[in-house]
């Protein structure tokens, strides 16, 4: 079986193992940046060195056994564009990794909960994604991958500065912890702007769902730490935890306020979104994402007896262009055709 098909059979745990209490925080992710000692960072490495680094890392991963014996290796030099797009939509690789080719690779366990990008900005970007608001659990998973790798590889480390990274913005712990939040009520009430400004003042970042430079389609936001030096990993995670708890409370308040003051506005948006998803014959990615966002509030509010949160969450991934074409096993000839494929898939999933 093709490696990408192994992934496509997965349930995408960080989305589908959500419980009903995971209504606002969709998933938690922790990433650690690491580099091999005595090698230039990818930006300064030539093709031969990049390849050597990739082979060292892959060999190390095999010996340490942290991803299981049959972990998946995607060599970006050989991975087709559509498969690379699938990996991106599943949040296993970044845009930056896709732009590189020589020596770039993704290593992940079969369940894709823990993964490692090789030769992105740093030699290694280890990541773990879990459903809901559970940063500490994600950190423990990625830390144990790190510890296993450290038995077989030596990472660049300085006594004062900690783990050395290509960009000084990541030096020290190399940690980037982020939580994907669904904040439609804060967007509807317009409070989101103040919230985003406030978070910025706390030295935390807010981004769209697909990382740097993307907007807030689907009312989805990613809140993450910026500072990586001067605090321990758990301190960083706990202060992020506190801010996110506040945000979740604000979102809950905003939802209650909307239900109290203007219930028909909110219910109308949910109902129309469901109508579009259930009956449209053409759906652009953006329209689908926004409709899913409102349908998700409806699920959170218990308006749908036959749709659970996991179904909606899974649709967030399956409406992706690459996932659609992979599922149909054909390339769409035009954007129109893709929109038709998307609408058909969503109708099918919500029919049950």
């Amino acid at each position: 079986m093709n490696r990408i098909d192994v992934l496509l059979k997965n349930r995408v745990s960080f989305l589908t193992d959500s419980k009903s209490s995971d209504d606002i925080a969709i998933s938690s992710r922790v990433r650690l940046a690491r580099n091999l000692a005595r090698f230039p960072f990818p930006v300064a490495a030539n093709d031969a060195t990049l390849t050597e680094i990739r082979d060292l890392v892959c060999g190390g991963m095999e010996r340490c056994g942290a991803l299981g014996r049959n972990f998946l290796l995607f060599d970006m030099e050989e991975t087709t564009p559509i498969d690379r797009a699938v990996l991106f939509e599943r949040r296993l690789v970044s845009k930056e990794l896709l732009e590189r080719k020589i020596g770039a690779a993704l290593l992940c366990g079969k369940d894709e909960a823990v993964a490692a990008m090789v030769n992105e900005e740093d030699h290694l970007r280890l990541q773990s994604i879990v459903p809901g608001f559970r940063l500490e659990e994600a950190y423990r998973q990625v830390a144990s991958l790190n510890d296993a790798l450290e038995n077989v590889l030596e990472f660049a480390f300085d006594d004062t500065l900690g783990y050395l990274t290509s960009c000084p913005t990541n030096v020290g712990t190399g940690i980037r912890a982020s939580v994907m939040l669904h904040l439609p009520a804060l967007v509807l009430t317009g409070e989101i702007n103040a919230a985003v400004r406030g978070i910025g003042k706390l030295n935390l970042a807010v981004r769209g769902i697909f990382g740097e430079g993307t907007d807030n389609r689907g009312n989805l936001f990613q809140v993450s730490n910026q500072s990586t030096l001067g605090e321990s990993e758990l301190q960083i995670i706990h202060s992020l935890d506190n801010v996110i708890k506040q945000l979740i409370l604000h979102e809950k308040n905003a939802r209650n306020l909307l239900l109290d003051k203007n219930p028909n506005m909110l219910l109308d948006k949910v109902g129309r979104a469901y109508g579009i998803l259930r009956h449209a014959y053409k759906l652009s990615g953006e329209e689908a994402l926004n409709a899913l966002s409102f349908m998700r509030i409806g699920v959170d509010l218990g308006m749908f007896s036959n749709v659970d949160i996991a179904t909606v969450n899974e649709l967030f991934i399956n409406i992706g262009d690459a996932h659609l074409q992979k599922k149909e096993n054909r390339a769409a000839k035009s954007a129109d055709e893709l929109d038709a494929m998307r609408a058909a898939m969503v109708r099918e999933r919500l029919r049950a």
């Binding site: 030596e154 500065l161 290509s166 001067g230």
Partner: protein, 189 residues
């Protein structure tokens, strides 16, 4: 989504402007965006490298203006710092968006980096995880734990004069010690 100007290429640049509370959205392809750029407010491309390190200030030598140099002579370049390991220079830091070339760059460019680090981070000293410090989950720590348990058991057995059982435990201890020693010899790359 197609580009708003040429309506042919895929729009890859999305600009959202909020003016007086009204949201305006422009979607452009890279080509049209490049053509359009000079018309708008052009502050040049955002360069993380320059922002991080104040490179424009650093690369100019900190010398009082010298009158004889008035006639557009290029200032004598500040002593160019080059990382001896990877050959990285300040210019490279600038053109690569603030990235360093190798671990040794942190030493080569230390003064410049220290200033940048205190702007970016909460502290200046790493307080987090260290290599091979947190070994609770790995095999060798477990082996050490088992070893100390067995050594206690051995003492108890000897005190109780259970020599046959003690011999079995002693053999297990020796075996463990060998395994731990073998683990330490595992070459580290």
């Amino acid at each position: 989504m197609l580009c708003d100007i040429c309506k042919k290429n895929q729009a890859t640049i999305h600009i959202h402007e909020i003016i007086d509370g009204k949201k305006k959205e422009i979607n452009l392809c890279a080509e049209c965006a490049a053509k359009k750029a000079p018309a708008g407010i052009d502050i040049g491309p955002f360069n993380l490298g320059e922002v991080l390190f104040n490179l424009d200030k650093i690369s100019t030598p900190a010398m009082p203006p010298q009158p004889q140099n008035d006639d557009a002579q290029p200032p004598a370049a500040a002593q160019e710092v080059v990382c001896p390991e990877c050959g990285w220079t300040l210019e490279k830091v600038r053109t690569s968006g603030g990235r360093l070339g190798c671990p040794n760059c942190y030493t080569a460019f230390r003064p410049m980096i220290e200033a940048a680090l205190s702007n970016i981070h909460r502290g200046k000293v790493h307080l987090g995880k260290r290599p091979r410090e947190n070994r609770r989950e790995d095999g060798s720590a477990l082996l050490l734990l088992e070893l100390s348990d067995l050594q206690k058991e051995l003492q108890t057995l000897i005190a109780a004069e259970e020599y046959e059982k003690a011999a079995v435990v002693r053999d297990r201890i020796n075996d463990l010690k060998l395994r731990i020693a073998a683990g330490k010899d595992t070459p580290v790359l």
